[in-house]
Amino acid sequence: MSRIKVKLKEKDVLKLKEICKEFNNEPGELINVLHRSQEHFGYLPAEIQEVVAQELNISLAKVYGVVTFYSFFTMVPKGKHPISICTGTACYVRGAENVLHEFKKQLKIEVGQTTGDGKFSLSCLRCVGACGLAPVVMIGEKTYGRVSPDGVADILKEYAE
């Protein structure tokens, strides 16, 4: 721990302490605390995990272990337009992998990453309940159905400012 220097704004630390307090600083509530923290801050960088570890009296390694185990938690900030590609069974057999590949190619990022300009981030999810539209892609709240690799460029163009 000696060489991690945590730099947070005072109000962020207070907010985190408040979240932990909501759950009585109970170590068993770690996952709930992380959920609420990610809801508020958008992601869970090292600094946030450090404060949570101290407040709940859990080792930092354990907090990191939980954050990296559950795919819902992320240590990188999501982009302005988070892209989710459904790789559930129906979408997968209808070619979701090729669509995903095309997004990776065009954005030059891997799954779980965010573009350098902070505009797009890429993630996979399992089934949005619109299997009839497979393969499905979600950008923010907007859903795109029957996406083909050829259509990816046009979709991204919608978000060009």
Binding site: S2, K7, V13, A46, Q49, E50, V51, S59, L60, Y64
Partner: protein, 591 residues
């Protein structure tokens, strides 16, 4: 306790309710193979995650195989530990485990003493189908001065995690990531040196594979011995002599002091000395410091800090620097015996033999991995030259002896050299829990009361309990002593002090179970705490055999003070034999 009847293979037996299938089978002389399981009841460890499934057995009436370590027996249960279904399943499980494990056994530091390798041999694995589909992880090898972590060899048994969190409460290690990429390590995959790790090495002591090993320094020793310009001297810690023999097939608890000295001489060391000499010196300094603080305390001095804590154990020093920095003025300022030895060797002894500091190489043989880290701390260097140059663990010494084609068992016994090889029984018991405080009490008693001890051994200070309390009568004053081994136990005593609940005047703390004899650099005990107890007996038997058993009666220590140091806590002593501690805790910085 309620008894139940079970049938395991063809044995019908009665066991206590709640016994696992694994332990019930053991009672019938059937040893079900295990990999992730680790039970050491004596030190409160019962690790049975049921994760590896190697211990799978067939239970009649159940559809699936059951993990024997994590399944309780039930009345009338019938278990088959070696049906063809079980044998097949075990092989498949092993093939899966090996599918993403590196295959470089020939050059792996764990080769020959590896639980995974032994299991592959036992199960007769000859091919590993499916490895082409496995995603081999490619983690960077993390090399600290003490511990090397090669996470590609991790099989996720999570034994290290249990030792680090449950036994030691250090919290440096946790499982992270999922699937093929899962491994155990510090937060954010930082190097272990940047984590709160104390380098106690208990993770290394239980790792079943080559994922966690000591940083091997045997080559540095060979190079030093091969250099004609260097004078190479060696010191051996008390716990080494009680365990080294195990590496050569001798039963646990065999003392090999004399053979070890001969082996070191055969290897070409110029002087064979004993850390025990420095342990006697530690008692002179630490004991005097204690009596000084105690006298002030009894005279009503409000400034003086009580209790005094021992400071011999380098992992313990790391632990309080990380976790209790506000209490860093409570432990004794006395350096550990290893460092006292180095400092005296490179001043007093170097002068005596007329060798320059830079041309004198001090090698330590230690049961400990934290000693490797301690030796390279800046405060133990003079112009960049360390007081102790190279630290080898007991395991590494065994390797060196084997490379020299020597068989320890066949070597004649010989004695340590003078002047830094003479020691008392008080020094030998530094290697076991309770030993340092017993040694200190022997000397403190005689100095404080002015009387000679009626009986030298203090049985009330001995034992294997994690936390022990005892009192000693000093001329009507009841001296209260606390003892803890294992850092989790140490933490409890420290919390008591912090909360003002502690009644002790003096506390001894050792990081490893059983004390140094259970250190992270010792021959692997494979989770058998009887081995630790046998080593403890060996140490006490060496103490019993010694003619001189009190540190202040060591003639060479008396001479060292006459010729060089003056008296305990003198200016020179402070400069060479004492140290100060640092705050290494993490702080949340607010921008």
């Amino acid at each position: 306790m309620e008894k139940i009847k079970v049938k395991i293979d063809n044995h019908t037996l009665e066991v206590e309710k709640g016994t696992s299938i694994l332990n019930a089978a053991k009672a019938a002389g059937i040893y079900i193979p295990t990999l992730c399981h680790m039970e050491m009841k004596d030190i409160g460890i019962d690790h049975k995650p049921g994760g590896c499934r190697i211990c799978s057995v067939e239970v009649s009436g159940r559809r699936n195989l059951a993990p024997a370590c994590a399944t309780e027996t039930a009345d009338g249960m019938e278990v088959n530990t070696h049906s063809m279904r079980v044998i097949n399943a075990r092989r498949t499980i092993m093939e899966f485990i090996l599918s993403d494990h590196p295959k470089d056994c020939l050059i792996c530091p764990k080769s020959g003493d590896c639980d995974l390798q032994n299991m592959a041999i036992k199960l007769g694995i000859r091919q590993i189908p499916g490895q082409e589909f496995a995603a081999m992880s490619t983690y960077k090898t993390d090399e600290s001065p003490s511990i090397i972590r090669d996470l590609d060899k991790c099989i996720m048994c999570r034994r290290c995690e249990t030792m680090c969190n449950d036994l030691q409460t250090v919290g440096a290690l946790s499982a992270f990531n999922r699937g093929f990429m899962s491994a155990v390590g510090p937060a954010f995959q930082m190097d272990i040196e940047d984590s709160p790790c104390t380098f106690c090495g208990q993770c290394v002591a239980v790792c079943p594979t080559g994922a966690l090993t000591e940083h091997d320094h045997t080559r540095d020793v060979i190079n030093a011995l091969a250099n004609p310009k260097k004078t190479v001297i060696v010191q051996t810690a008390p716990a080494v002599r009680a365990a080294l023999g195990e590496e050569f097939g001798m039963p646990a608890g065999t003392l090999v002091t004399g053979q070890m000295v001969t082996a070191l001489r055969e290897l070409g060391f110029h002087y064979i000395f004993d850390t025990d000499f420095a342990a006697d010196l530690t008692i002179m300094e630490e004991g005097t410091e204690f009596l000084d603080r105690l006298t002030k305390f009894l005279n009503g001095d409000k400034e003086v800090k009580m209790p005094i804590l021992t400071s011999c154990c380098p992992a313990w020093v790391n632990f309080f620097e990380h976790n209790f920095p506000e209490m860093k003025d409570i432990p004794s300022t006395a350096r550990s015996p290893q460092q006292m030895f180095g400092s005296i060797a490179k001043t007093y002894f170097a002068d005596k033999i007329n060798v320059k500091r830079e041309d004198l190489v001090v090698v330590s043989i230690m049961p400990c991995l934290a000693k490797k880290y301690e030796a390279q701390r800046d405060e133990f260097k003079v112009n960049g030259n360390p007081d102790v140059d190279i630290v080898l663990s007991t395991r590494e010494l065994a390797r060196l002896i084997k490379q020299a084609n020597l068989n320890l068992a066949n070597l004649p016994e010989s004695d340590f050299d003078h002047p830094l090889g003479e020691s008392t029984g008080a020094a030998v018991i530094f290697g076991v829990t309770g030993g340092v405080i017993e040694a200190a009490t022997r000397t403190a008693y005689e100095i404080y009361t002015g009387k000679s001890l009626p009986r030298i051994s203090f049985d009330q200070l001995r034992g294997f309990e994690g936390i022990r309390a005892a009192s000693v009568d000093l001329n009507g004053f009841e001296l209260k002593i606390g003892i803890a081994h294992g850092l989790g136990n140490a933490r409890k005593l420290l919390e008591d002090i912090k909360a003002g609940r502690s009644e002790f005047h003096a506390i001894e703390i050792m990081s490893c179970p059983g004390g140094c004899i259970g250190g992270g650099g010792q021959p692997l005990h494979h989770n058998n705490t009887d081995i630790l107890k046998a080593r403890i007996q060996a140490i006490y038997s060496e103490d019993d055999k010694k003619v001189i058993r009190k540190s202040h009666e060591n003639p060479y220590i008396i001479k060292l003070y006459e010729e060089f140091l003056g008296k305990p806590l003198s200016h020179k002593s402070h400069e060479l034999l004492h140290t100060n501690y640092f705050d290494r805790s993490s702080k949340i910085e607010i921008s």
